[in-house]
Chain length 630, copies 2
């Protein structure tokens, strides 16, 4: 097979790759994290690279590239890495600009937390086994089980690997051993002698974008270490659908993504254990939450059909799987508990959200909105709960937005526009020169433009305004937030008319989900006691701005509560108590899933919700009052 | 590390091996099966090889070799492979004579069999799963379980690997799947579509010397194929104690022996499936019996302490272990059922013997004697059962006997001596020239020598007889059975005074076990309804000869029943019925184990039993009558 050499700058990473593959694939092979939201389909336009040498040995510019790149960019050698196919055996030099990289991102680790009565799944027992004699030569294993039964009145199974360790362990410990019992059902570990150190567990929240995990002392319930990382699956596609597309491409791809996520969890586990000074084998339990696709990939279950109508999950019930079957490096006999899911697009993370907010038992009606590329909404109270999933898209994570980026250093996170002078102010994460707009910055920008009447309630630029910041680019109108003199990229940072359209679609999806749930439950905005906003984006967005653009119903701001990473909190609660696990199963069963696409009003509702704040302005009396004030 | 080249003749197998290792180790590395009863300790004298070249590069003759080899043998280059250590980097040429090889052996496959009502642990279900829709998007797994529950009123767990296959399987089969349920508890396999082929199971009897296995149609109960092989662990030591010694030598040795036995079972499985024309994945159940050490090694459990007082097993209860955890290549989700053991030296094979003979429920008192290197005896009836284990040694398998060999081609299996002329007649297995004596030949020889008064009741040669066949070798008296002109080895085949002593010890061990059990149960020979003789040796020995030398109590010959390989029969019964498994557990629990060493009469009884047939001749009235007749 003919092979070509590719060099990635500025790192100078190089590799040999067969002719016929794309530069995106080449970058992935060297370990370079290039953004790719659409999974290499040429749609998202995020995987921009610059050809520095060997451009004649790359396929011609495709239609997809022509849609994403400006004339001048193309002239300067910009290409989409996913479209650029290596044609022959020459050296190709490629520059990967900062905007195309997956950077260090701010990850939200804390969430609302409910106190839980400690009732972990694992229990330590120190057992003094009676020595055998010629008159009592019962076997080691039966002798051990009998002693445990005498002490605890329990019949236990023995894990196979543990069984193999019994003969040496009882003798090394001079007939005293320390065992770990799981769920009062199975002996999952044995060590010679008396071990009095505390037991640990690990709670993991697998987000599409981030992993957050907590090492928890199971004897006290205290968090011993908190660790996080970007989801190492990002190079395979930034959203769930892209990763599922990747999995569908070849038989081994599921195994590959599964291995990548397990390696990620193991690396978090090692980091957390190192911080606390324990061995990973001393961790005897692990709980996992995540959206349905992440949950399936972690378990190695094909998530393919989650992406196809009628979008069923492969597994809804919770599952207990031996750590060694999954390759997770906690104690080899220990079990991993994966919380239940609700539907193909309402996962175990939503169940965890419900647990942490107690929405399942509150008397008043509450709404939980976990905002992400996919937004899950739960509405209800102790009597009835409904949930739906909204395809809100990645706009609030900075994707599909011309200068959008994720909430990393240099992202504009707050924007204000003086309604008189129309001057723009902004603040960036870590107060460095701006390089783009993150979700909260985008929402702020749109809300401020609305208030300043730069954008109409229909979402159109007010082209009548004689304002130097408003201008027409090759295709559309755009508004300059930060002029190139101030930015780290050397380009203006703008928001375009099509960016505004993306925001309209995204916020309409969320609002429509909430409103259709409310219709089914016969709930009015004034009936809602609290709106819980969960997820990283939710925690940083300005609630007033979010309400102004009509992202959620018009309730008093004091009734909106940012609850943070409740998915992680729920995972931790399940780690601490088997009662919580039973409760999770029950809650997941109780939550009625509503497929929005089936509702006859969906299309109409959605179109009306694309207006700012809504076509039926009477639904947003407070927002309209404030907009009119300006 | 300095390495030497060793060539084994006549095959011409060659290898390079580090200086300092023995020729036995070198042979094992090339896969040559050299007999080694003592595990390389220089005691058994079975691993004779002839140095053909490079003798100066091998360690000097050891004291152990001087004890085993005659002057003339040493002059001709004979050495014990286990004692011959490679000294420096030269080529060494070694001949492995036929007598030192582990030959093709006759393996007894059939045993008494009891009809069992079919109730296998695995059941096939063809399930028509309701397709999901937008209004009913329940998960694939829950949908499948619900349908099964509707059809069978059962709550099933799902095997982890099976769970991963559900999404593709239900769609490939257009929502019809065939599943396998184990013990009405767990779904262990799923296949798309409707599969109506019969289910198969595999029953394995792991003997110290041989493996016998049966592929069984679980729908009909019929044996579809019978396969057998020598236990591939033989090169590591021919008896249980030698193998345990080997395991104790280094940490990885248990794993090595475990892998070797699993590979053996897999090779039998492949052979049997090929005969029947099915895939090994179509085998959904496997039962295993074996003595406690074999049972432990198969499971990878250290058998070390079985060999040390008070000789406890590591595990007595039965165990169900996933095939994939053990590396056995039946269906990966299937379970392997290992039958319970009774004590360190009374294993799952004895439990299987009890099941096949129904000794556990018979009204009259019966004795089961499973003769091997270790002989297990069970005595009792439906009310009470006792068992013991006798260290009968390998004499009846041809070991510790000067010209002993196992029951393979060329072994003398029957011997008769004319009491008048004292002429000797014999018959060999496969009627070829004799190369040694197997167990039944040894027993015949001794019984015939007793009847001919060549040997006294105390076991001493009658040196007063002027008989050319009786002569004195360097050390002791010996009796020529086959002169060198008739043999395949070119040497006389003899039985020596020390061989007779070995037989005395072996038969005394068995008789003492039976008599002490009888004492504990207050049973006289006339109370015994039947003596069941199990095991390969038992099946070929002449019962009159065995009784003549006093191997078992003096009961009428019609009450002695050779039941063959009842261990294999019991394994097959357990394969066919979960009721039999429950029964096995109950029987194993019920059988009271008696440690012979603890009985105060043991030494005295044993010494008296070394006489032919017994020092207290009144215990053998019928044998004595017949001896006196001659």
């Amino acid at each position: 097979m003919a092979r070509s050499k590719v060099v990635f700058q500025p790192e100078g990473k190089r590799l040999e790759i067969t002719v016929g593959r794309t530069l995106l694939e080449a970058a992935k092979e060297t370990g370079l994290d290039i953004q790719s939201l659409c999974g290499g389909r040429g749609i998202c336009g995020k995987c921009r690279i610059i050809l520095r040498d060997g451009m004649n040995h790359i396929s011609q510019v495709s239609d997809a590239e022509r849609r994403s790149l400006s004339e001048s960019e193309m002239k300067n050698g910009f290409r989409l890495a996913c479209q650029a196919v290596i044609k022959d055996q020459r050296t190709i030099v490629v520059e990967v600009p900062m905007q195309s990289r997956v950077g260090q991102q701010r990850i939200l680790l804390k969430g609302l937390e409910k106190q839980v009565k400690l009732m972990p799944s694992v229990r330590k027992l120190v057992i003094n086994v009676k020595k055998p004699s010629l008159k009592d030569a019962k076997s080691d294993a039966d002798r051990l089980l009998d002693t445990i039964k005498d002490q605890t009145v329990q019949e236990l199974k023995i894990d196979y690997e543990t069984l193999r360790e019994i003969p040496h362990a009882v003798r090394e410990g001079d007939w005293t051993v320390t065992v770990i019992a799981w769920m009062n059902r199975e002996l999952v570990s044995i060590k010679p002698g008396e071990h009095l150190r505390d037991l640990y567990g690990f709670a993991v929240d697998i987000g599409t974008t981030k992993l957050a995990a907590y090492l928890v002392n199971l004897n006290t319930g205290a968090i011993a270490a908190t660790v996080s990382m970007m989801n190492p699956q990002i190079p395979y596609g930034e959203d769930v659908i892209s990763r599922i597309s990747y999995i569908m491409k070849a038989e081994n791809n599921l195994e590959e993504l599964h291995d990548v996520i397990v390696a990620g969890v193991n690396s978090l586990l090692n980091e957390a254990c190192e911080k606390v000074g324990i061995q990973t084998e001393e961790v005897y339990d692990l709980t996992v939450v995540g959206n349905t696709a992440m949950h399936h990939i972690f378990l190695g279950i094909p998530p393919n059909y989650v992406a196809l109508s009628p979008y069923p999950a492969a597994l809804q019930s919770s599952a207990d799987v031996k750590a060694r079957e999954l390759g997770v490096q906690i104690n080899s006999g220990a079990y991993i508990h994966v919380l239940p899911t609700i539907a193909g697009f309402v996962g175990a993370d939503a169940v965890a959200d419900a647990l942490a907010t107690e929405i399942y038992e509150l008397e008043g009606i509450n709404t939980l909105i976990d905002i992400g590329t996919n937004t899950e909404i739960i509405l209800g109270n102790g009597n009835r709960l409904m949930a739906c999933s909204c395809a809100s898209g990645p706009a609030f994570e900075g994707a599909h937005i011309k200068h959008g980026m994720r909430a990393a250093t240099g992202a504009i996170e707050n924007v204000w526009i003086d309604p008189q002078t129309l001057e723009v102010g902004y603040k960036t994460i870590d107060d460095v020169k701006p390089s783009g707009l993150c979700g909260s910055g985008i929402v702020d920008t749109v809300a401020e433009m609305l208030k300043a009447k730069i954008v109409s309630l229909e979402g159109s630029f007010n082209s009548g305004l004689a304002l130097s910041r408003i201008r027409r680019n090759e295709k559309t109108l755009e508004f300059v937030i930060a002029p190139k003199g101030e930015t780290s990229t050397g380009n203006d940072i703008v928001i375009t008319q099509s960016d505004i359209r993306e925001v309209q679609l995204a916020k309409a999806a969320i609002y429509t989900g909430a409103s259709i749930l409310m219709k089914h439950m016969v709930v009015e905005p004034q009936d809602i006691q609290e709106i819980f906003i969960a997820g990283a984006f939710g925690n940083y967005v300005d609630p007033q701005s979010a309400k102004t653009i009509g992202m959620f119903p018009d309730v008093p701001l004091q009734n909106v509560r940012f609850v943070g990473n409740t998915a992680g909190s729920g995972a931790r609660m399940a780690l601490l108590s088997t009662d919580v696990r039973a409760l999770a199963e029950e809650v997941a069963e109780r939550i009625e899933y509503l497929e929005l696409g089936v509702d006859p009003d969906f299309q109409k509702e959605f179109l009306k919700a694309t207006y700012f704040p809504h076509k039926e302005v009477e639904r947003f009396p407070n927002v309209m009052k404030s907009l009119r004030r300006n």
